[in-house]
Amino acid sequence: MNATGLTIAVPRGALMGGTLDLLDGLGVDTAEVRANDRKLLFEEAGIVTVRPSDVPTYVEHGAADIGVTGKDVLLESPEREVYELLDLGYGRCDMVVARRSGDDAIGESLRRLGRARIATKYTRIAAAHFAATGRQVELVAVKGAVELAPLTGMVDGIVDLTATGRTLAENGLEVVESIVTCTARLIANPVAHKLKAAEIDAVVARLREEAR
């Protein structure tokens, strides 16, 4: 077990570096995790590395006491019973509506066909956004490279996560609406939150101190 006394779910991918830096600051030895890209379970360091979208699942089931994942993942899986403890600030991205530059395909479809077609990996966030703004849409769930969908004419626009907007621009897309800003969040298992209260509060206090 590590210095925090907690098992930690670390997201692979874009949030991994920032999360490991954070854990270094808490006195967790992350050298082995950094050195070994293929290994998933680090028992000595008390770390499991999983896809960001799987972090709430591991934490909800108690396989990890705490974990780090993006707010986008939490918004997309609201049925997961986990505590959201802290906004960690890094991994800042915007969930946006984008369309092909130059024409208003979304507006045209809404006006003439009564609904727009929107491709996204984030069907819940997209559905909630269009419902809240009173527009009928048909959501097309895609798994990867959402930017392609409007270029082929399959959809009128997309809902996707963007950090700089560069990928969107390179594919001839422009952001027309911003839905929500997402950052990395610290989450905890509800039972661990009670049974390991002192350990979890110590982590939260240290991270709050550093954020100042």
Binding site: G62, E84, P190, K194, A197
Partner: protein
């Protein structure tokens, strides 16, 4: 052809059934030894009876019509039917009433979460014993029942279901904001709670209390820090902790000022049961002094329910760890 069963339901086959029955029997005999008499109530009730429970208790997962067009529903727990029984079948009784049950109930659950829409609950209801005396009895029996089922490290979370609502009222937070703040707490989203509290523009000490108080959990020391207008609720929890100390189960107790339960009928103390081997609560309960009055003469009451399958999961996990 594959004949499927509805999502969130299960077939139980002999090996598992034997173990489930053994656990159920140990829970039942603990309840019986403590003087609780077992009851059955109908599997289906009129929807309007269950709706009296309010909140999640009133939101039936399954509804149907009978031959006269009346709407029937499957109960989402046993507390509401037993409140009806207490108010109607025991209308004249004035001494304490101790009832227990082991029965299936049905709840709405999210898709893909692996939770059960149909689950077996064993529990107790103590009617006519007000205040901490009743709560301590119920908690003491729940701790004994889990020990009888083979657990050793189980703990009970104890809080006050009305604490945060009263705190909001006492700090003069506008009533139209209460729901949003309570939702944050129910969803366990402490980041959103802090943002929403910041938006209220309160004085620093009131703001800190609303953010910090629901995060206090642990031993009796959580009651020692100032609580402003919540002081009265903390005094009651202190009394309850004293009663639990006298029963010798204080070391099992986690006082939790952020504990909220989704069910709409709780009026005071609320409970949750945990085991370190599993990541979910094994059951819960609380005090519901206003529920029986919705069916007849009001009587104070409290109770607790255990999810038998979850207790079974915890018991097998404990077996593997020992």
């Amino acid at each position: 052809m594959i004949h499927q069963i509805p999502a969130g339901t299960r077939d139980v086959l002999p090996d598992e059934m034997r173990e489930l029955r053994a656990i159920e029997e140990r829970l039942r005999s603990t309840f019986a030894d403590a003087g609780y008499g077992e009851v059955w109530t109908p599997t289906v009730e009129y929807e309007q009876v269950l709706a009296a429970g309010g909140g999640e208790a009133g939101a039936a997962a399954f509804r149907m019509f009978d031959d006269q067009g009346k709407v029937l529903a499957l109960r989402s727990d046993m507390t509401v039917p037993i409140a009806r029984v207490a108010a109607t079948r025991f209308a004249g009784a004035d001494g304490p009433l101790r009832l227990c049950y082991s029965a299936h109930a049905h709840r709405v659950v999210g898709q893909r979460t692996g939770q059960q829409r149909e689950f077996l609950q064993s529990g107790i209801e103590l009617i006519g014993v007000p205040g901490t005396e009743g709560e301590a009895e119920v908690l003491g029996i729940a701790v004994d029942a889990l020990a009888a089922a083979g657990l050793a490290r189980h703990r009970v979370g104890v809080g006050d279901g009305g604490l945060y609502r009263r705190l909001l009222a006492a700090l003069e937070v506008p009533a139209q904001r209460h729901r949003e703040l309570l939702d944050c707490l129910t969803r366990r989203d402490l980041v959103a709670l802090e943002l929403a509290v910041d938006e209220l523009g309160l004085a620093a000490d009131a703001r800190d209390l609303l953010v910090e108080l629901p995060q206090r959990r642990g031993g009796p020391e959580v009651l020692d820090r100032g609580a402003g207008p919540a002081g009265e609720a903390l005094d009651r929890l202190r009394d309850l902790y004293g009663d639990l100390e006298r029963r010798g189960i204080a070391e099992r107790v986690i006082l939790d000022l952020g504990l909220v339960r989704d069910l709409g009928y709780y009026t005071g103390a609320v409970f949750e049961l945990y085991d370190p081997a599993v990541g979910f609560a094994l059951g819960g309960g609380g005090r519901y002094d206003e529920l029986i009055g919705r069916f007849g003469a009001p009587r104070p009451a409290c109770g607790i329910a255990l999810d038998v399958q979850r207790v079974h999961i915890a018991q097998t996990a404990e077996e593997q760890q020992s």
